[in-house]
Amino acid sequence: MNRTNRFEFIVGLFMLAGIAAAVVLCLNVAGLSFAGNSDDGFDVTADFDDIGGLKEMSPVKIGGVRIGRVSSIIINPQTLSPRVTLHISGKFRGKLSAETSASILTSGILGEQYIDLTPGFDPKSLSEEECEAIGCDPNEKYIDESHVIKDTKSAMILEKLIGQFVYNMGAKSSDSGDGKAEEKPASDAASGKKEQ
């Protein structure tokens, strides 16, 4: 191997090492999978009342396993509520029943928010009558392109939760106050009975 060739070889190794490092960075650190990026997926939409801290590219999961990402968030012009488009991996085309519900959850206490899908029961086992009974369209048993998920649960907003909690506390304490007031004469009566 002459000098020039040796340089070329080493520089080639250097560049390959750089590419390998970039791949490690993408796969191991950023956790991207090429399968998830392949574009055979399909889009479904879901309307929420409140999306909290959900962002584009937030994960969509079933039971904690990522199956897609949030591809866009807009305001539905008719209802003026947020409309979220979910891009779901093509592997799940025709696998999720139309009964699937979506809720916005938070990973951990301070973690990021994601959409959790809860699959409904398998519509194959339903007859058409049963299907109509629970209100699903017999022709649209499975989620596919441009399906709209109707059953949604919005994000938990800490302020709202606290507000609710305080309200409940208030309600409970006034309840219990009333209870005490009612109870007192009874106990008085009881003690009175004892005394008697």
């Binding site: 560049m15 490092a21 191991n28 650190v29 950023a30 991207l32 590219m57 994960p59 951990g108 973690g111």
Partner: protein, 259 residues
Amino acid sequence: MSLFDSVASLGAAGIRFVRHVGEAGCMLFRALVGRPEIKKHFPLLVRQIYVVGVLSVTIILVSGLFIGMVLGLQGYNVLVEFKAEGSLGPLVALAILRELGPVVAALLYAGRAGSALTAEIGLMKATEQLSSMEMMAVDPLRRVVSPRFWAGIYSLPVLTVMFCVIGVYGGKLVGCDWLGLDDGTFWSATRNSVDLEDIVNCMIKSAVFAIIVNWVSLYRGWVCLPTAEGISKATTGAVVDSSLLVLGADFVLTAVMFN
């Protein structure tokens, strides 16, 4: 009178600065624009990538490892107080990918390779090698400056990626293998919070820094006084200027990218 003088010197410095920028722009333009002669330039490019890139790998890897380890240690000590040591992975990975990786790699590169470029060009000038090239009807901007510039543009992003990877693994080494964090938690938390966008931004930053460091270093060498003192001043100036410009550009880029 002294106020007048200081205002005047401020103006002179401004004019000098603008003239330097213009001159540097012309230099780069003349070096890069022109019909490419791939057959002649490729060996030169390979040679320069070897000099500025391959020879910088050691310092980049060692510094990256230590910076990752220090981040792991410090981060763990703080996070453990909040019972949030599970977030060590995102802390290390994001700190390195967003800021430390591109910036520290660029600063190390400026010290290791940028100064060498300045000194080399300055010495070639002092020993009349550049003049003799011109007299041989060979344009030294195309033959000497251009391959060095491109080599830097290719090398620094590669070095930055290496720095980032080894830094994250350094953080993992301390956090998981020495301090007993679960490495599954480490990786999953990291993967959840690091996006492709972070990596792309890291690369964009690194490419911008590569342009800055190489440009400044080559320009300082190109215009240095061909004496021992001139070369030493140019070398110091190249490292100082490119470091400051890198940090300034980092702020601007961060403001643009993460807002």
